[in-house]
Amino acid sequence: MTDSLNPQISRRKFLYATGATAAAGLIAACAPAASSVAPSGGAPSAAPASSPPPPSPSTPPSAVKLTFDSNTGPNAERYKPAVDLWNASQANSFVTLNLPSPDDNAYKANFPQIAASSDKPDLAWYWVGGGGRHASMAKNGLLEPLDDLYASEGWDKAYPQQTLDLYRSPDGHYYAVPDTFVFHTPIYYDKALFAKHGIEAPAMPTPWHKTVEEFYAMCDKIRAAGLDTLSIGGKDAWPLAIMKDDLTQRLVPSEVQVDYVAAAVAGGVPKYKFSDPRFIAGQQAFVDYGKKKVFADGTLGRAFADAQAYFATGKAAMLSDGSWAAGSGSLPKLAPNMDIGWFMHPQLDPTIAPKILTYAGNALMVMADGKNTEAAKEFLKFLVSKEQQDMVASLGVLIPARTDVDVEAFKKGNTPLMVDMFSALNTVGTFGPWGDYGPAEPVQLDYTHSQKLLDGSITPAASAAELDAACDKIRAGE
């Protein structure tokens, strides 16, 4: 082989070249991000059409650099234009939106560890609840108290009392502020498909079947038409657990339902237990749903996103999902030509009217002991300001948590389906779930039991006994 084909390189030259490459790599790695959004793992990056024009991506040299973590999906769509607007209007503060995980479950599980690390963000979106994780973070001093902002910004008057009660920690402080809220579990259906097969869905002002038998009869009719019934992401378990809460509300007086939250709090003194026959009846109603083939075939093997697709492609006639599915980026995008209607789960007890389960735990929080705590609080004030909440209302993605938002802007910016469901909240009434706000163990048990109840590997009574045992241990401080 000739030298031209096999060039020799001296050790010195090799070391120079390696050193230069390493230095270039180091410089590249340390370079500031070119964009204010740092997505990871395939997070959605496109801003909605209504977002303001993108600002200059460069960071002002003297600006405080803030990092803001959120999950992906509708929240990313909501925060990207807000961050861009902030960066365009501020000379002294520059926010980078991080989306650390493409998957909600992973974000929920991993964020507390991020918050406890030296690499924590300045502020973040997270659940107040999250299977007890928010309470753990607050208890361990990872979150900044926001009491001063609640007073100075009038937040203590801008949110419903029920939400304020939920956000006040046992130590009396507020460690988070509500940003948006969702409600569960409307049953979405394809109006054209129902009409084609002569199936009638209940509508406002009482959008539910008066008896469960009527609901079963409707499901039978759907199956007889060659369609699959109610699509739901059973593989992820939590959609099942939330639906179970919905059914329990229809059998359990509200004071009992509220009491279940106290059952799972250290030092809590609940009046009722999960082995209360009314709670077990709620579990049984869920089991009966399975036996009567209310759920689509293959429910336990279908993930949350797959369940949406199963409905959007016309394979299932109904979908059980949260209010976010009615947002412009969700079902209307998946099935643009489908005219979607909604109704609620049936009444199970003639004395208890169905209500809509609302979840107000979508929150913003500032990390404690950060370098930029005050700057982070300024950005937080901006995010939950009346103007920003009005912007959320007009985005058509999520429902703002403040009660003083511009309802007209909400109606204008949202899909008719979302507006219709939103207007039902006041008419029908709402209630809160017992799950999610509780500690990790009973909440996770409840999730797993939802699957086990459907595949028959646990009975409603055994499930209730296990929940009681877990809560007893927590109350005893074990």
Binding site: A109, N110, P112, Q113, A115, A116, G131, G132, R133, S136, M137, K139, N140, L142, D228, G234, K235, D236, A237, A296, D297, G298, T299, L300, G301, R302, A303, D306, Y310, K315, A440, E441, Q444, T448, H449, Q451, K452, L454, D455, S457, I458
Partner: protein, 316 residues
């Protein structure tokens, strides 16, 4: 040690001087240091990424810790709880079933494929590449892909089964009875290419004369495989079986991607149980105890296997 105490050694040329002596000692030390210097980067990496986490796991297994606050020392209580935890014993049974099924399946199918390819069946080149491609694919990707293929409804798998008259196929991943076997089958599909390649390499080392003599003697392919090939590659088979068992005992990704251990606990294996306990139930001490038990199981099994199987090598 004093200079006087140093016993000068005779150096080349027969001169004795402290300088040459020092040089000699330094050179000797350098020579003996060189192997350690080469090993140092690997040892440092091992210390940081293997030994320290292992030590931390053992340490954490003795604490109760929610991952955020101060860990509380509780001695061996996590292990005592594990011993009576019915979910742990269920998980252990699932893990053993998965390990036996996946290790046996991958090795047997890998061996069959290797024999077929080595005997140059028609299309052997295509087989060789096709069966090895899944090994290179991420387990998570495989899990997601097969979840879609095995979903309920008009999926490719169910459509193919429909051609054979199966009109009502089971809900593969939503049924507690079928979930674990299905995951084992997918694992076999993905990893049987690995033993195949190793066995093929081992078969290439068998002298051709042995094979030719057997053919001249009139031995069939089955007889040659059973009496010649398998005995000669037995040491390789033993090592591949061990590796497959270790991989299977540690399984997490494919189970998480396909079922998350569900429905309920029907496909819960040790790796997933550990994750659930740590990141979902916020019991990092208990999760560490599971990790320690897993590591102990693998170490004890490996030592026992190596002691009893004694994979020897052959000289041709």
């Amino acid at each position: 040690m004093t200079a006087k105490g140093l016993e000068p050694t005779r150096v080349r040329g027969g001169r004795w001087s402290p300088r040459t002596l020092t040089r000699s000692v330094v050179a000797s030390a350098r020579r003996s240091m060189v192997p350690y210097l080469f090993m140092a980067p690997a040892l440092a990496l091992m210390a940081v990424f293997v030994l320290y986490p292992l030590f931390r796991s053992i340490q954490l297994s003795l604490y109760s810790w929610d991952g955020l606050g101060e860990p509380v020392f509780i001695g061996v209580r996590n292990f005592q709880r594990l011993a009576v935890d019915p979910q742990f014993s269920l998980t252990l049974r699932h893990t053993i079933a998965f390990t036996v099924g996946a290790a046996l399946g991958t090795v047997v199918i890998g061996l069959v494929l290797a024999v077929a390819i080595a005997s140059r069946v028609r299309g052997w080149r295509v087989f060789k590449i096709t069966w090895f491609i899944p090994v290179m694919v991420s387990m998570t990707v495989t899990g997601v892909l097969w979840s879609q293929l095995l979903a309920s409804g008009d999926t490719p798998i169910n459509s193919i089964l429909g051609l054979f008259g199966v009109s009502d196929p089971p809900d593969w991943l939503g049924n507690a009875d079928t979930t674990l076997p299905v995951i084992i089958l997918v694992t076999i599909w993905q990893f049987s290419g690995f033993p195949m390649i190793i066995f093929l390499a081992a078969m290439e080392n068998i002298p051709r004369e042995l094979e030719e003599s057997a053919v001249i003697e009139g031995a069939s392919l089955w007889q040659r495989t059973r009496s010649l090939t398998i005995p000669l590659i037995k040491p390789v088979i033993a090592i591949v079986v061990l590796l497959q068992i270790i991989f299977s005992l540690k399984v997490f990704d494919i189970v998480w991607a396909m079922t998350q251990g569900g429905p309920g606990d029907s496909s819960l294996v040790l790796g997933v149980y550990l994750y659930r306990q740590g990141f979902m139930f916020e019991r990092f001490g208990y999760a560490s105890a599971i990790a320690v038990v897993m590591a102990a199981l693998i170490i004890v099994f490996t030592l026992g296997y190596l002691r009893f199987v004694r994979p020897a090598s052959y000289e041709y």
